[in-house]
Amino acid sequence: MNTERRRERIDRGIKIRTDGIYAMMSWRELSYLSAPRLVLIAGLLILPFVMPGMYWQRVITITCIYALLALSFDFLAHFVGLVCLGGAFFVGTGGYMAAILNTSFGLPPLLTIPIATIIGGAICTLLLLPCLPLRGVYFAIVSLMYPLFAARVIEAFDILGGTDGILGIDGFSNSWIEQYFVIGATLLFLFGTRRLVNMDIGLVFRGVKDNDQAIKASGMDITRIKAMAVFIASAMGCLSGACLVHIYMWSGISQFALDFSILPIAATVIGGGGTLVGPIIGCLILVPISELLRDFGTLRIVFYSIILVGFIVFRSEGIMVFGQRKYHQFERWTKV
């Protein structure tokens, strides 16, 4: 007898925010739905307590900063269709903004960060505005150049502290505030963007990605919508840059470095693009590993790049999509 079998996947019938309406029946189902979210939130909030020593607490802060960047990349790439290879540009703009506000105007970090987030986002959006009618390869290429040029311009004209950068920036008043500020911001933006992409405007964003002519035919201005999306994403990037500057108490050209462009992309690919949670999980995996590899210098970048190529070629769905499938569906073998 030929006993060929195949694996069958069946959805569990418990869902939230989907096409059907499902009545919640029991605590068991409620906890089934909320457990993953609660685990993430509680896990991030507990992390600073379980980390041994200052050094690893700092690693958690940096992880969250990268997570914000990865979130902004994922949002732009998978919900609006703009692949931005120049995340470092947002970091640099936000960082320099916060540095100037702090050193020249004497504002405290809790004021500079929000201001740098909003004004930095606006500046990035304005500078990227000419490129917004583009899409695909063209936008990726041009956005890749922005951070490189920004670094070149600062170096060449010796403005904003030139190659030395801006020194003497205030730090956070204590390390707990620093950690919880960044973790809080990450969670806020994570759930904020999740809510955003499920609202009407999120539908329009996805429309721009999938079929911009249709959006145009509906009488909406695509460039304006893209500008809004870029503002949201670059504000996230600027927020992370501003936090970074206040953590290191220094702002310099290295904020335009490739690290800030490539690691979030790698995290997004590994975690699973288009899920918004995936990038954060990717960062939680990649950043600590890269801290362990700190002794190897630039070999770290080689390491991410190889992981990135491996994932994109062989497992382009990422960890999160895989995990979601395993969680929401059960599998069994059936006879063909």
Partner: protein, 288 residues
């Protein structure tokens, strides 16, 4: 007069950077972000053949070109072919490969002033009161010869015609029995060889520095965008445009502004005519 001479040299340099990129993009629609890394890699490979193995200069040049071509073809055959047609994945994959090569070289200690290739012919000649060394003249000469060879190659050889067919219409080319995957591999190999040729011609003018890989990539992309992605003639024309613009800014405004010219050129081109000077096919597609 010096503007004319240096402008020409600069333009040919830019054209050399850009041709490989334009070729790969034209044939397989693959934006090869690893172009700059292949350029630098081939420089170090030549250096390795020359100094570590002690081979003859000409022999090591030829070997390095072949090696780079093979590396490019292998990258395509084993990695990029799997993500073909997925734009985001293509960009990220080539970008990551490029970074891996450059940062790997940097990690392996290939940095500093020690790595130089000797010029082919020492000395210089004076043209209209301006000293120009022979290497720069050779760059212009070989660059020009290469363009002519490419033109002949795509016009009179079977492989060249197949590549041209792929670039014009991939489906029609497949119907006529052209193996599109094989041709894409060939194109990537040729593109990498062009990068290697550019490297071997241009690197003797200075040190081999890993960071300049990024500059090469930026300039190549600028030239290709201004000329229209995928168009070789456009790329050459744009190289002259940007090359002279750069020299003019360097002379009249200041050399700091040289790199800014490339970005400005891109932005202006993208706003006015996003498909570039000679990009014909995607006028509607790329811009909304």
């Amino acid at each position: 007069m010096d503007i004319l001479i240096y402008g020409t040299i600069n333009s040919v340099t830019l054209a050399l950077y850009a041709l490989g990129f334009a070729m790969v993009y034209g044939v397989s629609r693959l934006p090869n972000f690893a172009h700059g890394s292949l350029y630098i890699l081939s420089g170090f490979v030549t250096w390795g053949f020359l100094n570590s193995l002690g081979l003859n200069y000409l022999l090591s040049i030829i070997l390095a070109m072949v090696a780079t071509g093979v590396i490019g073809a292998l990258i395509y055959q084993f990695v990029l072919i799997r993500v073909r047609g997925m734009e985001i994945s293509e960009i990220i994959a080539t970008y990551a490969i490029g970074l891996a090569i450059l940062e790997g070289l940097r990690w392996a200690g290939f940095k500093g002033m020690t790595y130089t290739l000797p010029p082919f012919i020492e000395g210089s000649v004076t043209i209209a009161d301006i000293p120009v060394d022979y290497q720069r003249l050779l760059v212009v000469g070989i660059g020009g010869a290469m363009v002519v060879c490419l033109w002949l190659f795509t016009r009179y050889t079977r492989v060249g015609l197949a590549l041209k067919g792929m670039a014009q219409d991939e489906r029609a080319a497949m119907m006529l029995g052209i193996d599109s995957d094989l041709m894409a591999v060939v194109a990537m190999g040729f593109g990498s060889m062009l990068a290697a040729l550019a490297a071997i011609l241009l690197l003797p003018l200075g040190n081999i520095v890993v960071e300049s890989g990024y500059n090469v990539l930026i300039l190549a992309i600028s030239v290709c965008i201004v000329g229209g992605l995928g168009s070789w003639i456009g790329a050459i024309l744009a190289a002259f445009l940007i090359g002279f613009a750069q020299i003019l800014t360097a002379v009249y405004i200041g050399s700091h502004y040289q790199m800014v010219v490339a970005l400005l050129a891109i932005i202006v081109t993208l706003i006015i005519k996003p498909s570039g000077l000679f990009g014909k096919q995607k006028e509607l597609e790329e811009r909304v």
